[in-house]
Every structure is written in structure tokens, then in C-alpha cells.
Subunit: 526 residues, 2 copies
């Protein structure tokens, strides 16, 4: 485990939440307290009336981390409040480059999607001429799939059948005709929900060994957070920064060899296009990964939520499922899950919470248990389901919404492409920075060198050096990024993740401010 840890105030403090969190940012390993007899006896007597304390709560919830919404972001929210109440700062607003939150950064919504939502939530809009016929037809189909014709009804736990069918058709078309079955599609409230649900399947000790999940480093911290929450073991493989963050098979083998006998490897996570790294994997690389997974009996989590976000002109999105199916026997019988979301792509509907998971080659009995486990959560939001329907069943040429839809979609994707290039080019011009091209997704993850004096100053504040840098940047410019230690990085290297999402003018301003800050920072710690 290379990521930094929340520091627990080891003694109960009377301090505010903020002060606790402020004290909580440290680098290095932290051994959270395990419950021992002494502590729990203490709880049962002196502290009897506080029933849930750090000592008597689920330690996995203490251990888990989610840097994308961590202390830096909490501080950013505080600064926003300070600005609102008239505080003077060297900047006028916070730029939230920490999270892939498209609309918050000014990306407009796709009209067709919102038309369909306005129709399903308020059927009186079927009488309004401003809503085009194709949106009405989509909305009608969705409502026909809802109990009582209302999105206020629970859907099946796996989602509304017609939307699952549309998703299967979408996948089949995307993958050049390779069959997709609607029974394999599970709609969900954003990809995160189904990633957690599928990972839960694997949470069982085998031969007394803890289940292990291979995750890339750097990784999207949902994975480490879920692994920690479930008490599973994290097996870390490094992405090859020197080769555009691709996966290196000897490195995969090294990571497995290292944990041999310590846990039971059950699955591997691959994020393609990459988050936070922005790589797009080649078909050849994917084939090798699949072979590796096969040889090592690993279930594949293919996180493909950025499949529409490809900017590199020489790259193409290859779905894991398509590659695996084209490889033929025995690979085409492998169990895997692929995840998709309406939060990313060109839609950027993060708050609506829509997504799907395709689960292939699953044992039917296991599938029945999976479905049962979903049922206690009743159903994913029907509005999120309607949103993902628009993603998998967008306007077709000739339909009334088509022209506007294509224009909006192309504009968003072209602008993202331009910004992807702008960010990596600009960051590469900073002293000590090296940034791989942002081939896809929505982030840059540059490496940067820090002067020894800065590292020392960080240590004095009890912070990881990249966290120290990120806090300094935030306080000086209002720019909120996430330090590399939140995603994992090779020891001794420093990175951060920034989104490419601020709209072009703001992004240029941000990069300019960033450059000035960096120069000053380097001068200060020279």
C-alpha cells in the first residue's frame, strides 16, 4: 500500500471537524487502531455513552480513502465559502480541477437527453410542440416500460427491460456485431455502484487467504476505497509511465509474484481509457492483458466509462469484450465485467447517476445470486436509467433531434480534444514537468520534480510533498488538483491529476496562473 493515509486523532479531541481533517493529512503508512480487548473494555465503561467511536467502528471505513473528495477538496469548499462571505484572496474563485465534473466546469448538457428527461418526469410535456418527436418516442418507450407508466415506480432491480435491450444493441453495434444479450446488462446508478456490487461477489477467503484484486498504480481511488471497505487485499501493478502509461506484462507478473502466498488473486482492474493517466490501450496490449488474466485465473474489471473520450488521432477504443471474443477459445469463455456511465463521454451527466454493467460468461447460479443481491437496493434511479437510454439509443440520422445532437456532441468532444492537447503541452513547458499525452479520458497526470527544500518543508508540516504542493497551489491560486499520492505513484516520484474540463478561456487562465505559481514555488524552495 503506497497511498497516504488519513491520520486518526489518536485521542478524542474537542476540535472541530475541520481541525481534525486538517491534522489528518499525512504521508506514509498509518496503522489504524485495531480493536483490542483493552480498548473495547474502555468503550464499555468510561466512554459507554458514545456508542460509536473510532475505536468501536468498522476499521475498514477508517482505512478507506477517496482522495478525489479528500481534505484538499474540503479545503477548497471552505475557501469558496470564505470568498462568498467577502474574504480577500489572490483569486476570485476556486477552479475545481480535482474531479471529472463536466457541467460544473461549464460544459453544456446535451439537449436531446434533457428533452427525454423532461418528458418522462412530466408527461404533460407530450403536448408541447417544443419537444421533438424522437424524444417523445424515446420517452414513451421508457414510460411504457415503467409500472403504471410512471418513472415513480420501482423498476426491476436490473433495470427497465427496454433500456437493457437498447444497451445490448449499442454494445453489439459498437463491437462490430459480436452478440450482446440484454440479460447480461445491469443498469446502475453510475458505474461506481455496479463496480462495488461485482467486487462484492469476490469477497471470500480461499484456502484461508484473503481475496486479492489487482489494480493499476496510479488508479482511480474508487477501487482502493472499495477494496479497503471490503477488507480485501490490493495487489498493485505499476503502469508504464515511460510507455504512455500502458500495461507491461512483466510488471503484472512481478506484482503477482510478490504477493504469492499472501493473498488469493481473484481479479484485475483495467481502466481504459485511463483515469488518472489518460492512456488509450492498443489492441495488442489488451490481448496480452487478457492472456495474462487467463493464465492467472483472474476475473477482468474493464472500466470503460471513457470509451467516447478518445483524442489521440492514432488511437481507437477497443473494448475488452470485443478483443476477448475475437481471440476465440478459450479466451471467449472468460468471465468479465465492463462498466459504462452517463457521467463521462460527451454527456457529462454526473449528478443524474446512470450507467450500466455488462457481465459476461457468468455462471448462471452466480448471476442469480448477484441479481438477488441487487434486489435489496430495489432499483437504480429510473431517471438515471432514462439518461443512459439516451446514451445507448441516441438520435439517428433523419430523426428530428439528430442534427442538433450531432452538433452538440461533436462540439463537446472537439473541445475536449483541444483542451487535452493544451493541457499536456502547457504542463510540459513547466520546469521539471513531464506529462504524457492525454490520449483519452478527461485528465492529465504529469510527473514533476520537487526541490529538496520543498520536500523538507512538506515533511515539517507532516504532509506528503505532492500534497504540500497541491495545498500551496490551492491557497495561492484557487486551483484545486489532486496530489498523485491519492492515486498511487512510484515511490520518490511526484504527480498530480488535473482535469481538462474548465472551458477553454478559463483553462488558459488556469494554466497561466499555475505557471506563475510554479515559478514562484520553485524560486522559494531553490
Amino acid at each position: 500500500m503506497t497511498t497516504s493515509r488519513f491520520l486518526l486523532a489518536s485521542q478524542r479531541s474537542g476540535g472541530s471537524l475541520n481541525s481534525i481533517i486538517k491534522r489528518a493529512i499525512v504521508s506514509g503508512n498509518f496503522n489504524f487502531p485495531l480493536i483490542n480487548q483493552h480498548q473495547s473494555q474502555t468503550m464499555a465503561t468510561s466512554a459507554k455513552r458514545q456508542l460509536i467511536t473510532l475505536e468501536s467502528m468498522n476499521p475498514n471505513m477508517i482505512k478507506m480513502e477517496y482522495a478525489v473528495r479528500g481534505p484538499l477538496v474540503i479545503r477548497a469548499a471552505e475557501i469558496e465559502k470564505e470568498l462568498k462571505s467577502g474574504a480577500k484572496k489572490p483569486f476570485e474563485s476556486v477552479i475545481r480541477a480535482n474531479i471529472g465534473d463536466c457541467h460544473a466546469m461549464g460544459q453544456p448538457y446535451i439537449t436531446f437527453l434533457r428533452d427525454v428527461l423532461a418528458l418522462v418526469v412530466d408527461p404533460s410535456n407530450f403536448n408541447e410542440s417544443k419537444y421533438p418527436e424522437d424524444a417523445k418516442q424515446r420517452a414513451r418507450t421508457i414510460l411504457d416500460g415503467c409500472g403504471g407508466g410512471s418513472v415513480g415506480s420501482y423498476s426491476d432491480s436490473a433495470g427497465i427491460e427496454c433500456i437493457r435491450r437498447h444497451a445490448a444493441e449499442y454494445i453489439q453495434n459498437r463491437d462490430g456485431g459480436i452478440p450482446a444479450r440484454y440479460e447480461d446488462i445491469y443498469l446502475c446508478a453510475g458505474a461506481s455502484q455496479s463496480i462495488k456490487a461485482v467486487m462484492n461477489l469476490l469477497n471470500v477467503k480461499i484456502d484461508g487467504l484473503n481475496p486479492g484484486i489487482m489494480v493499476p498504480i496510479p488508479q482511480y481511488p474508487l477501487y482502493s476505497a472499495t477494496i479497503a471497505e471490503y477488507g480485501m487485499s490490493q495487489i498493485e501493478y505499476y503502469l508504464d509511465e515511460s510507455n504512455k502509461w500502458s500495461l507491461d506484462i512483466p510488471e503484472l507478473e512481478r506484482s503477482l509474484a510478490e504477493i504469492k502466498g499472501k493473498c488469493k488473486p481473484r481479479a484485475m482492474v483495467v481502466i481504459n481509457p485511463g483515469n488518472p493517466t489518460g492512456q488509450v490501450l492498443t489492441k495488442d496490449n489488451i490481448q496480452k492483458i487478457i492472456k495474462f488474466a487467463y493464465d492467472n485465473s483472474l476475473f477482468i474489471f474493464a472500466d470503460e466509462v471513457y470509451q467516447d473520450n478518445i483524442y489521440d488521432k492514432d488511437s481507437k477504443f477497443h473494448s475488452f469484450k470485443k478483443v476477448l471474443m475475437e481471440m476465440g477459445e478459450p479466451y471467449n469463455k472468460m468471465e468479465m465485467a465492463s462498466f459504462m456511465s452517463c457521467s463521462k463521454g460527451y454527456m457529462g451527466e454526473c449528478g443524474i447517476r446512470g450507467g450500466y454493467c455488462e457481465l459476461i460468461n457468468l455462471d448462471p447460479e452466480v448471476r442469480a445470486m448477484f441479481q438477488k443481491s441487487l434486489s435489496a437496493q430495489l432499483c437504480p434511479t429510473t431517471i438515471g436509467q432514462a439518461a443512459i437510454d439516451c446514451v445507448v439509443n441516441p438520435p439517428k440520422p433523419g430523426e428530428p433531434s439528430y442534427e442538433q445532437f450531432i452538433k452538440e456532441k461533436t462540439t463537446v468532444l472537439q473541445s475536449l480534444k483541444d483542451r487535452a492537447e493544451l493541457v499536456s503541452t502547457t504542463l510540459n513547458s513547466f520546469e521539471g514537468f513531464s506529462c504524457n499525452p492525454v490520449m483519452g479520458a478527461m485528465y492529465a497526470f504529469p510527473q514533476f520534480k520537487l526541490p529538496p527544500k520543498a520536500i523538507e518543508a512538506a515533511k515539517k508540516e507532516g504532509k506528503a510533498a505532492d500534497v504540500f504542493y497541491a495545498f500551496r497551489l490551492l491557497e495561492a491560486t484557487g486551483i484545486c488538483i489532486v496530489a498523485g499520492s491519492g492515486f498511487g505513484q512510484r515511490p520518490g516520484t511526484y504527480h498530480f491529476r488535473t482535469t481538462i474540463l474548465p472551458q477553454t478561456d478559463l483553462l488558459k487562465e488556469m494554466l497561466q496562473k499555475f505557471q506563475i505559481f510554479h515559478k514562484q514555488f520553485m524560486a522559494e524552495f531553490k
Copy 2:
């Protein structure tokens, strides 16, 4: 554990999912397979290529059950498909009385709520005169609370601040001015999500003992499902059927005494108004429960999602928080959680997934960890948040939507009240039935006697007798109820849960069909 269990096909079967599920309905205890060395070696060799099997998956996911969406409901869905494809049955449609799904049963939506949703998803509607000004003002406030003014942005993990503030004001007014803080409010995608999240806090062994959660029997199976999923221990206390399903303190004490030394009791769940039992607790009963929880160091889960559904003229909703606060020291320092949802009440917006949880007197450090654990799930659906905003901040007298809102709300609640009486009165007229009054919530849970021959016939089919009865009812009439064993009941007694939700004409027809079926059933097994 008194509830029935899914039977696992002990050998891998080539059968369809349906046949597996059909075989899976049994009564009595079932010991699910534990992983042993032999099995996992088998998996590693002969079955190597099926990576996840019943033997190598999380056994808690096998153990968990959710009868409200169990095999009976799966069969009901099959029957609906059979009817659609022209099959001849003794009925024309399935009546889904199994689940509290208001809109699916014909309850109309509340116009004001949908107006607000139509405005937040499509801001072009601010120009439409058909939407009243108060709905526009609510929608504007919500959008102002969203990043970039769009519900497509992620919100804070705890929810949009202005909505949390509205919820706190609502609670404070409801509780006669007892303060509520917005920081204690966590918005969620339906109450289920936050019930699971709060229960997760308690999942830690203390002195080597498994954490135990007290749940009522009968109970809403989300609780048993979550306890099973988390591998916690379920401590069952029986509700007092002879005293309108109230809580009997000696029975609470008995349940605790029985598990002494076997697990560590951490919390107790109380559902008020009751699901599936329909009781409304008296203030006196709640005070005694709070004292009991205090004396036994139990965190209280107050499931109060039916707080608007009170039909009994002599009953009133008393929130646990209000009673606890009015009891003064030391009770007013107790930690507890109260849950609310937009799925129930008069709104019935189940599919939208909105709700909140109020967490009081929590240790601030624990609260910080709780908040962190939510953050990996990013945020609850913003549309669900907008829906719960309408519930806690409805039109006020004098506002343009007020009259229509009050009319719709009153109509729904009056009709539910009429149906509550109709259902209990009618069921009480059936041979061998005894049904407590439906004082609140949306369900009746009658007890009924089964003739020995029916019990024998059920045994032959490998079914619990009440499940056998419910299947017979479904196949004969299309009425889908949930057998009492799905909620738990005293051994040797038989119950079922039916909703009171079919609209009046359909409900009358349903009860008539039910009566005819019951007479024939009793004659058949005389």
C-alpha cells in the same frame, strides 16, 4: 434465523435460471456451503475456467434474502409475460400487491413535485407559463446549489446544502421546534442506501464477538439482507401481535438475554409506522424503547419512512428524535439515526430514489469517517435530491401551487386511509383470518390458519406452507403477495403481507377474488 432460505442447487446444473429458482424455494434452515480446502482445490483445477462459482463467491451474498422481490415475484413477472404472449389464465392481469409501489398501482403523482423536476432537468421550462412561480422558485434554488447551475454536476456526497437545510427546517417544524442541524442531514438515493451505510459503521468485532443488530419480527427484509450481506448477527425480537404489533419490553429483554455471549448487541431497528405490520407506536411505547436502548447501549435505527401514513384516528406519529429529546438527560445525548424517503408518504416516488437520514449525537470523528465513506459513491442522484426537497419544502398557503398540492395530498392520504380499513375489515371476514388494524404505512399482515392437509401438501413440494399458499393464490388469481416467512413470524403461525395500494375498484375486485380463492383452497384441503 427463522426465515426461509434459498436452496442452492448443490450440483452445477444445466438448467435455466428459472428452473434453478423454482427449485430454490424451500422452507427451513439451509446451510450454505462454506469454502473448504477440497472445494477450492477443485475450483483451481477441474473448474478452473469458471472463476466465480457458488463455492467461490461471497457466501454472504448467497445467504442474504429479499423476499419482497423473491421467487414469487419472479414468477409473477413470468406470468405477466405469458399473458402478454397470449396465454390463457383464469385472470387478465397480475395484481402486484407484493411491494409498496404506489405509482405502479395507479396512484397519481403530485404535480408540484414533477413540476420542479421538469424545471431542473430542462431549464428552458422556466420560460413556460404552465409552471407555477413557486415551483420555479424551488427549482431555481436547487439549481443555484448545483455546480455550474446544472443537476448534471456531482453534488456534495452528503447532498446539496440548501436541500439539507430544508430537511432540517422540516424536521424542526415537525418536532415542535426541537432543533435540527443541516450538518446532521445526509441525502440519499432512497432510505435503503443510508440504512446500509449507517449499519456499515457498526460492522466490527468487539472482544471477538460479532456485532449484533436487533430487528423486529416481522421485519422489512432490507434489514435481514443487509445484516447477512455484512456478516453481522441478527437478534430477533417479536412484535406483539396480540397488542397491535407494539414492542413489548420483556420480549426485547428476552431476545438480548438469548444471545448473551454469542454476539455483541450494537443497535436496534424500530420501524414506525410498521412495515409489514402497519402499527403506529404510542409515545409511551417509544419512551420505553428508548430507555431499553439506553440501558443496553444500543444505537437506534428509527425507520420512519411512513411518517405521513397514519390512518388510525386515535394515533399520531411521534418521531423517535422528538421523544428522546423531550426525555431530557441522559437520553437526549443518545446516538440515533432516522430515515425518510420520497418513495412512501403521499408522494410515492419510488423510482426517483430520494431520501434523507438524520444522524444525531454522532462523535464528530466518526461522522468524518462516515462522510468519507459516502464520498467514494460520489453523490446521491440529484433528481432524487430535488424530489426530497419537494417533500420537505412543499408549497405553503398562499403560494400558487398550494391549493392543488393540498388537494392531491389529501386525496391520496384519504384514499389510503379508506383502503387501509377496507383491507383489514375484509380480511378479517375470511375463514381463519385475523388481521390487526392497518393504523399506518401501506400494508396489512394478517395471520391465517392453514388446514393440516395444506401444510402436508406444501411439505411435499418442499415449500413453506405460507409460500405454498401464496403461489397457489398467484397462479389462480394473479394476486401477488409476500408470504410471512419472508418477513419472519412466530414458528407455527402463518401470515402474508399485502399492500393496500391497488386503487379502490381494483382493490375491491382483488379482495373478492381472494375470498373466492380462499374458500376453494380451504375446501380443497379440508
